[in-house]
């Protein structure tokens, strides 16, 4: 990177690392929390394995509310929580709670849709085999929904990258922050373009990996 001095190069690498860190960690938590919420939504729905209108409605509302709040506003609303959890409102870790809180409901909805798309006949066959509900979920539903669940992860990872850029604007670091503070406000357009290009490359890589995995998993 001869066109950048060593300080700038370090800044770029650091920003790249922060973006990957924020995306990776929030993705991990969002998938775990989201899939649990998705399974609960799926089994508590009408005619589900454990129908429960109250739990279903509460969870459904919670997800809708969280998804309705624009991310930039959620960032600000979650600041006190971030401070309690991470001790700061600045830095990549401080952005994690809001990133997770915004993407977990997204993944919950996607995993519920994925589970609902599994052929109802498969559930019936499972019951006829004498499978209990836990077995039905883990041995029948999740394997059958796997490809949709994985493509959901790719989709969410990409939208998370966009969110990390936004989080950067309020001091979380990462490529978004770099593009904004170094690139835009200091008119260092080379940095602005490079940061943008890096984001695009990351998105492409994630999409590529996601498509590849889905293709391998999907046996339909």
């Amino acid at each position: 990177m001869a066109i950048f001095d060593s300080y700038e190069s370090l800044q770029i690498l650091e920003a790249l690392g922060e973006t990957l860190y924020m995306t990776g960690v929030s993705l991990l938590f969002a998938v775990i929390i989201g899939i649990i919420m998705g399974i609960i939504l799926f089994i508590t729905q009408d005619k589900g394995l454990y129908p429960n209108k109250i739990i279903h409605t509460i969870l459904d509302w919670l997800i809708n509310i969280l998804r309705a709040i624009p991310f930039i506003i959620l960032l600000i609303l979650v600041m006190p929580l971030a401070k309690i959890l991470t001790g700061s409102i600045l830095g990549a870790s401080a952005a994690l709670p809001s990133l997770i809180l915004s993407s977990a409901p997204f993944y919950a909805r996607m995993s519920m849709i994925a589970l609902n798309e599994v052929d109802k006949g498969v559930i019936e066959a499972a019951k006829a085999m004498g499978a209990n509900n836990i077995t039905i979920i883990f041995k029948f539903l999740l394997p059958e929904a796997k490809s949709a669940l994985v493509s959901g992860i790719a989709l969410m990872a990409i939208s998370l990258i966009g969110y990390t850029a936004m989080a950067g604007a309020i001091g979380a670091g990462g490529l978004g922050d770099l593009a904004y503070t170094y690139g835009f406000t200091r008119q260092n357009y080379l940095i602005l373009y490079l940061a943008t290009a890096l984001v695009v490359v990351i998105v492409f890589i994630i999409q590529f990996i996601g498509d590849y995995l889905v293709k391998r998993i999907d046996k339909r």
Partner: protein
Amino acid sequence: MIEIKDVSKTFRTKEASVKALKHCSLKIEDGEIFGIIGHSGAGKSTLLRIINQLERQDEGEVLINKENMANLSKKELLEKRRKIGMIFQHFNLLSSKTVYQNIALPLKIAKVDPKIQEAKVKELIALVGLNGKENAYPAKLSGGQKQRVGIARALANDPEILLCDEATSALDPKTSETILDLLRDINQKLGITIVLITHQMEVVQKICQRIAFMVEGEIVETGLTEELFAHPKDSRTKQFLLTSIREIEKTSKDLKKLYPDGQLLRLVFDDQNSDQPILAKIIRQSELPLSIVNAHLVPSLKGTIGSMYVHVAKIDDHKLQELLSLFDSYHVKAEVI
């Protein structure tokens, strides 16, 4: 022995309630192939699912080997279901698992020793004739092969009963035959009681020793297959038989001999169109001299239903197409035989 005693079941939705089963009673002996036949919506599916309690009856009892299914605990019921195999119209295989894994699933659920599992799956694959397909995914299989996987899966835990839910309805006639042959083989080799439901007359004629005929949630007639076909007692059974494929084939063949020239058409009248003077209208509009050469018509609640054969002595292709679309416009099913 399966005993169904005075079973009733009503499905309730917000808008309406449907009586799916009305006081149904049946006795199915060990080792027999028993058919339940009727039009779609007659309640066959519900009755079949009452046997393994996928559906719970509102009234009445189901006894398997004298054991009342209602008295079983949840856990006991799950264990009991392992001894009742089931196959489905649309196979219901797991698309994410191979043939081998699909067949091994019931064994895994029953927590069978992995070594025994392997031997059992291999044995089943050989039994249903799927050697070499162990690692194929269902998407790569034909309909007949998928049903073979379904059968192998249903037999995994050595069931005493095999329930077949329209098992051949999604298959072409030739494949259907081979699946039925396989079911009969299994019944003879393993002595499994088979209960099958179908709307296809050929299926019960081919493999069932005894049948029950269902109409609108009621079992209207039960008996030995040949007897019930030859001498149906109930008028609704008679009507159903009139539309049977075998009957159609025979009539068509006889008529073709009688009328070697011109065209023969088979018309099917159902509830929607039977109260109108359709034939008169069509003769007037087409100006063709149609003559009725055979008819099986039965009065129903809404009019007259059944089939009719008409003959036209001289007709060219163009006129024939016009005539067929004319029947179509009156919602009468017409086919050239």
